[in-house]
């Protein structure tokens, strides 16, 4: 009788301690995360920012600044050189080398070729910079923490229209890039909804440096607003040259402009530009200020949206690992459960569609820095 009591007490004690033991059970474990980023080639600038963020995250985990429950997370960052064939081969490598998670690739077009391979192998995917339609639909464990244009642009347009009260607008966008082409579709719909008349639409090709022809044509129509559907390099030239041809319209753009490089490259021409974005560098989420400081100190320039979304992905992964997830299936389940993980983007969760639920921001460039648009 006494023996049974001792046994039951001991058993109860063990059972009570079990959850605590379980939570510590990742200590000492290693989780390998395969990261595909284009650090060279056409998308080299974006992938490099991503790589920087993972390097920072890995060190932050070691230093205890990012809590992964005592586990080590290895970010195996591989360069795909903006070549879809290499993305495919890297995906296959990560699908067969014991990686628990695939993060990336940088471009949606690459993801569409490579994600099905990972899905077939049961590897969970977390995309940090794919904004095209249909990414998360590729598999039951394909997640995305990057807000698409469709999620940030309509609000930005509504706010800008309320403040500027424009009658007419023109759009210039890149017609050979999925991201910038989507910009056009979404801005056009948002402007229509706001009853702003679209007086001209012009296109350019990725890598163009001269936009005078298109901007001269637009300037002749005198729009109140110029929409720039573009990534940062072209956007900087577009706003500079717009001023040069005498096009003095309000300027609004999407996620692609959300980089300190925009002000660096465009100088004064960037003033007053409004951006619908997924990240505000000056936001007050816990840890963001410190992240910006550490990133700037280490890499010589502030983090752009690519870097922020990558670091946030690292935070999401660390959070899931801390909850005990060290395998691909467990990570998938952990992501599905995530409702409000604190990240530099703000609190992040995933919808049932596995797309991200995160705050969006409307920014304005004032005195050479991003500020919240009012």
């Amino acid at each position: 009788m006494q023996g049974k009591l001792v046994w039951s007490t001991a058993l109860a004690a063990v059972l009570a301690a079990a959850p605590a033991l379980g939570a510590n059970s990742v200590a000492g474990k290693t989780v390998k995360v395969g990261v595909i980023a284009d650090t060279s080639g056409a998308a080299g600038a974006y992938g490099s920012a991503q790589k920087n963020a993972y390097a920072l995250a890995a060190d932050d985990i070691k230093a205890g600044l990012l809590d992964a429950g005592g586990a080590t997370i290895v970010f195996d960052v591989q360069d795909a050189a903006s070549d879809p064939a290499q993305v495919v081969n890297l995906t296959q490598k990560f699908a067969t080398d014991g990686s628990a998670l695939l993060v990336g690739p940088t471009l949606s077009a690459e993801a569409k070729k490579a994600d099905p391979i990972a899905v077939r192998a049961g590897l969970t995917i977390l995309a940090t910079s794919n904004t095209a339609e249909g990414i998360t639909a590729m598999g039951p464990c394909v997640f995305r923490n990057s807000l698409a244009e469709a999620q940030v642009v309509p609000e930005a347009v509504a706010a800008a229209v309320a403040k500027w009260k424009p009658k007419t607008a023109a759009i210039i966008y890149g017609d050979d890039n999925q991201f910038t082409k989507t910009d056009y579709d979404i801005f056009q719909a948002a402007l229509q909804k706001a009853h702003v008349e679209l007086v001209d639409v012009e296109t350019y090709h990725t890598g163009d440096v001269d936009f005078k022809a298109q901007l001269t044509k637009i300037a002749a129509k005198r729009p109140d607003v110029l929409v720039v559907g573009s990534l940062v390099e072209e956007a900087a030239k577009i706003v500079t040259q717009a001023k040069q041809v005498g096009l003095n319209a309000h300027v609004i753009g999407g996620n692609g402009l959300n980089s300190p490089k925009f002000m660096e490259l465009a100088g004064g021409a960037a003033e007053g530009v409004v951006i619908g974005a997924a990240y505000f560098i000056g936001n007050s989420s816990p840890g963001n200020r410190a992240f910006v400081e550490r990133y700037t100190k280490r890499f010589g320039a502030g983090p752009d949206q690519f870097a922020a979304q990558s670091y946030a992905a690292a935070q999401i992964v660390a959070h899931a690992v801390k909850e005990g997830a060290t395998t691909s299936d467990a990570l998938c389940a952990a992501f599905k459960r995530a409702t409000s993980v604190p990240t530099v983007l703000g609190p992040v969760g995933f919808e049932a569609s596995r797309d991200v639920r995160a705050p969006s921001a409307i920014l304005e460039v004032m005195h050479g820095a991003f500020t919240a648009f009012k």
């Binding site: 077009a109 890039n177 999925q178």
Partner: protein
């Protein structure tokens, strides 16, 4: 071994497709034609086949048939206006054709434009790819024993003299270009069916450069050389992956080294003892 194959099945498929592309260019190069439209033919066929597969549920063989016919037709049509062009002029005109094709692909609604074409069924299995490669290889090998092969070589070495002895060099140029277009088309459809998704950027000048480099590295006058070159170029980025940031400098240096030490290509090193 099977684990290695399973972990690298995509790479193996890529080698097969790139080898087909290199063969398609090699045929033109052997006739002395620097006709750089292979990437464009690949794209035309790829889109025709993929659209058929996605919208009408075509099985792979039907895609390949339709795609290859489309690209062969495009090649035949292209052959007419470029008939008088030679050397680098021919090269740039054909590259220009490629840019035009890419622009059209980018703007037609049916291709999906810049957003690309998704949902292509994944039915280009390794046997299909290598089966096609072997079949094309056999055709080329058979043709190389024929009188046509002599006409091709004569056209390459000295077109004026060839015409002088009665060879219809215009027909040689037409046939090699069209055949090249057909083979590039087969490769294009296989590419689409092996990658789930295609976009116009897959078929631009960058792709054309890759195919050209593969052919020259392997040996311009040799079909076997094209295969060797394609294999090497496909596998190289993965082999030197451990070099991380030094990868592109290394691959440029390797390219430079191969050309400097084997200007007639790797096949040229082999055959140094003289041709049969």
């Amino acid at each position: 071994m099977t684990a290695f194959l399973a972990a690298h099945s995509k790479l193996i498929d890529q080698i097969g497709i790139n080898a087909l592309l290199a063969l398609s260019l090699s045929v033109s190069l052997q006739a002395g034609q620097l006709a750089l439209a292979q990437a464009a033919f690949m794209g035309i066929a790829g889109y025709v086949g993929a659209i058929g597969a996605v919208q009408r549920g075509w099985p792979l063989w039907e895609s390949m048939l339709a795609g290859a016919l489309a690209s062969a037709l495009a090649a035949a049509v292209l052959a007419l206006p470029i008939g008088r062009l030679r050397g680098v002029f021919l090269a740039i005109a054909t590259v220009g054709f490629g840019e035009i094709a890419r622009t059209v692909e980018n703007n037609l609604p049916i291709t999906g434009g810049a957003e690309g074409l998704s949902g292509i069924p994944d039915d280009a299995s390794t046997p299909w790819i290598y089966g096609t490669l072997i079949a094309v290889g056999c055709v080329i090998a058979a043709a190389s024993r024929s009188k046509f092969a002599l006409a091709v070589a004569a056209t390459r070495e000295d077109e004026g003299a060839a015409r002088g002895v009665g060879i219809d060099t215009a027909r040689v140029r037409f046939c090699t270009l069209t055949f090249g277009g057909l083979v590039a088309g087969l490769a294009g459809v296989l590419y689409a069916h092996a990658n789930f998704f295609i976009a116009p950027g897959d078929f631009g000048f960058g792709r054309m450069e890759q195919i050209l480099v593969a052919c020259v590295i392997g040996g311009v006058t040799s079909s076997l050389g094209a295969l060797v070159g394609a294999t090497l170029m496909t596998v190289l980025p993965e082999f030197i992956r451990f070099l991380a940031d030094f990868r592109d400098v290394t691959s440029g240096a390797i390219l430079l080294g191969i050309v400097l030490f084997a200007p007639r290509g790797i096949a040229g090193l082999w055959k140094r003892g003289g041709r049969a």
